[in-house]
Amino acid sequence: MRADLELIENWIKPGSRLLDLGCGDGTLLHHLRETKNTRGYGLEINPDHINTCITKGLSVIEQDLDVKGLANFKTNSFDYVIMTQALQAVMHPDRMLDEMLRLSKQCIITFPNFGHWTCRWYLGRYGEMPISRSLPYTWYNTPNIHLCTFKDFENLCSQKNLQILNRTVVDREHRNRWFIHMWPNMMGEIAIYHLSR
């Protein structure tokens, strides 16, 4: 099992109603349905992912967050809104965060850390935008238009008076290593945040 799934699972109350933004092939929604008896919806735009979700018997809605936002969902209508590895790809991450916390009191967000030492080293050594296995795109054709560091993200949260209930920093394989905790913004590759307003 993917370590991030297990981590997120621990934060979710059984029987919750979820909204997963950019749900991909529905791995997380499916896992939570099996382990926590959750229900809810995934938003996705990739046709293959949508088909995979349908095959798994998940409710999946084709909706482009950058075009339609989340205005069609009611305030406080979910127990959790989840966004894994997609915040850096939306047009307005700050407004997205506001919208997510309008729909539910609690949010779970994961994103790649641009402050990871390999990124810093790459930029310092080559003077070019880092390209790596977890961030494999060139600057001009990347979907990741709003990369940030953990520190950047936490600054935004404190500006917005958002409460970070929990943060787990892991490596690319979602493993939780001891050295990551020594210096998360340098050593962590992916952070999983549990936020509340």
Binding site: I50, I54, T55, E62, K74
Partner: protein
Amino acid sequence: MPETLPPDSVGLVQPQIAKFDFVLPLQSGRALPRFELVYETYGELNAARSNAVLICHALSGHHHAAGYHSMDERKPGWWDSCIGPGKPIDTRRFFVVCLNNLGGCHGSTGPRSINPETGHRYGPDFPVITVKDWVQSQARLADYLGIHKWAAIVGGSLGGMQALQWAIDLPERVHHAAIIASTPKLTAQNIAFNEVARKAITSDPDFHGGRYHEHNTIPKRGLMLARMIGHITYLSDLSMGEKFGREMRDKVFKYGFDVEFEVERYLNYQGERFSETFDANTYLLMTRVLDYFDPARDYDNSLVEAVSQAQCSFFIAAFTSDWRFSPERSEILVNALVEADRRVSYAEIDAPDGHDAFLIPTPRYMDVFATNMNRIADEVNA
């Protein structure tokens, strides 16, 4: 006309008639003393009777949804693209039922039928039917066929409205509803187009207040105009442009008002063909069924409350170039279902063909539709 039947065709099919010798009360307060429904079936009903799929037709549709009536038939049934072995509604797994709705003109009781109370054709005296009435009549057909619960009810456009009404009115009898290129109610613009179509028919001097049969005539010109205006709303600017552009029969202007542009020729041809086979009173009736459809009305105008009655899962699909029932209209339904905490998947399919796209087998549409129906087949052990 096929020389041999394609391998993914349901093959040669034969319509059947179900006769119901009892009164069907209608939403209007009126009733039909007895009625008949003509229908076709494809595939086999399984022992558990769990694999039946009901296909609901749109405005000008009928019971002949797939296959051929004879080797001489020019074209297969109207939804042959989606029904057959290996197609999205896979007849190797599903038992498919498609009927001609009440009020139709293809064999079910309608304005052309004899009114048992008078011995004459109903004509304009045929009661105005609603989607709710159709659901009730279709439920009688389900009883007749021994189907307690449909694995799925599937329909495009007006057909999708029937699937939705089923889910609300008879929730325990629907496992899944697939609603394609449809809407939870018509807009003023939709009703306006219907009114122009009706006016075209009723103002035809051959209409005779709907009693044209008594005058041995039909309001051909009116029906033709109605179809022409309807047809424009089924296509998109893009698909019309691609099909006809500004092509002309002859390359030079004739400085007159006869048919010169290809699009004119096409519309005239479509209108003409339609007016020869379709019944004008049925056309009036079908457009009214559309106008009246609004399931929220029974629930204090709350669509959320209406769809909260449903127990089934939903599949909703819309097409980007459909301006008759645009994706936004499907999304109103999706949002209501989400708010009502119902299971729903939604696909917005990029297709250039306007409202007619629901009949056209574009790859993305076929993929997602087939994926959905296969999932349903698994769920009901088809």
